[in-house]
Symmetry: C2
């Protein structure tokens, strides 16, 4: 079997993976993603026992047990480029033999639940409710670096591009379905579903204007009004599309829940 070169799969001197500083035995099958490193202990304080706690850069990881189930909480930092690091490295921990640098013959599937915060694009989704991304709508282009056409919802993408008169200079928007299994498990009365749009920045890419004029001042309004088969864009944040895209390509289950902090 082909060995993965050290320039592709970078390990630290202790054998842990480059950015996350983790070894395979440190991660649970169920993984909670948050953005802010300070939110990791806020979640793990509810654990019955803590097994492991490590941080490198903005990536803090705590693994422990809650009611007989093992969980890992990890902070991803901000944006799709950080997600590229986190998902690829978690998958490597699960599915690559780091010592031999070969892909394992049996696939280990991870369950990933992102708990984020975001603004809502819809005035009828109240502050403090949750939105679940039925689909991730990627305005960030990350997935186009991979062979990914087969997981995209092309018809929806075309409708979105037409509706928004999307600039051809920006990356083509891509749409990926979240995990149907986790969607079913985490649905509830207070949970609104929709497209979660993911922007590759906080100011211009999300339509905020401080001192710089932006390419399309009407983009957020056009996003408010987009529907496809009755599904609306519920919210705008910075990670979900990349999580859905990479998880689906790698054979993991992923769903994104955002607490609405403004609308």
């Amino acid at each position: 079997m082909n060995k993965i070169a050290p320039s592709e799969l970078i390990l630290n001197p202790d054998g842990s993976i480059y950015h996350l500083n983790l070894k395979p035995e440190h991660i649970a099958d169920t993984i909670i993603f948050v953005g802010d490193q300070n939110r990791v202990p806020k979640i793990s304080k509810h654990f019955d026992t803590i097994e492991f706690d490590v941080q490198k850069r903005e990536f803090r990881t705590i693994t422990g047990w809650y009611k007989q189930q093992r969980f890992t909480v990890i902070s991803t930092g901000i944006g799709p480029d950080n997600i590229d690091i986190v998902i690829n490295e978690l998958d490597a921990l699960a599915n690559i033999d780091l010592e031999n640098r070969t892909i394992k013959t049996t696939h280990r599937q991870l369950n990933i639940v992102r708990i984020g915060t975001s603004g809502s694009l819809q005035s009828d989704i109240p502050v403090d409710s949750f939105v679940m991304g039925k689909y991730g709508l990627g305005l960030d282009g990350l997935l186009h670096s991979y062979v990914a056409e087969h997981i995209f919802e092309k018809e929806m993408e075309d409708a979105f591009i037409k509706h928004t008169h999307w600039s051809a200079k920006k990356a083509r928007p891509y749409i990926v379905r979240g995990s149907e299994i986790l969607e079913k498990k985490l649905s509830g009365d207070e949970v609104f579903k929709g497209f979660t749009a993911t922007a590759p920045g906080f100011y211009g890419p999300q339509g905020r204007v401080l001192r710089l004029p932006i390419q399309d001042v009407n983009l957020n309004h056009k996003m408010d009004n987009f529907t496809f088969n009755g599904v609306r864009i519920s919210n705008l944040e910075m990670e979900t599309s990349a999580i859905y895209g990479l998880s689906r390509l790698l054979g993991h289950q992923a769903i994104s829940m955002n607490a609405i902090i403004a609308n």
Copy 2:
């Protein structure tokens, strides 16, 4: 004068700016960017006195004095989306009256020096040398969310697109000149100059293959071979193009220096 709305310019309850947690008086005119929050005190330990030290999420800021000059060191985290946050918020601290939410009538110019690490694309640039980005080559698309055509080097961009057969699904590559003033100040014998290419991710976007096939397996090789008026692509990292683009749009001086840790 038009007031900037609270949804665009978000302040914390103490009046500091949203992500960076800074007030205008906390930043020097000369600002050093690093990626890793743990690298901030490694730089500021050389300061003669420290004035201010704060951290929120991955953004740690220390301001102090070194040989009668005031410096701010700040960690940006990873990627162009974080740079969107850091540069827009630093500029707001310098050039927006936060209390009145109006743009100041006099412009305060910042000098930004990024000190990063990266791999080199050229085998004759030795490990431990520095590369300076004469131009930032953005593969990340961030700048297309802004009105930015007037700062782009269109002829170079077209040559790069043609040379690489750049996928139209990805964002159009953009090229922005770094600061000529800072380039002159920081040049030296150990400093190689070139295009610093900025990718919106670490694995697929930089041509690394773990378990996922990538869209263009030859992209790094094509980047190695690209030259324009004798300038080569010296290195590949995740921040420079966004720093150059936003700094130029906002009227700041910025240069990026990368220590080569692999080639």
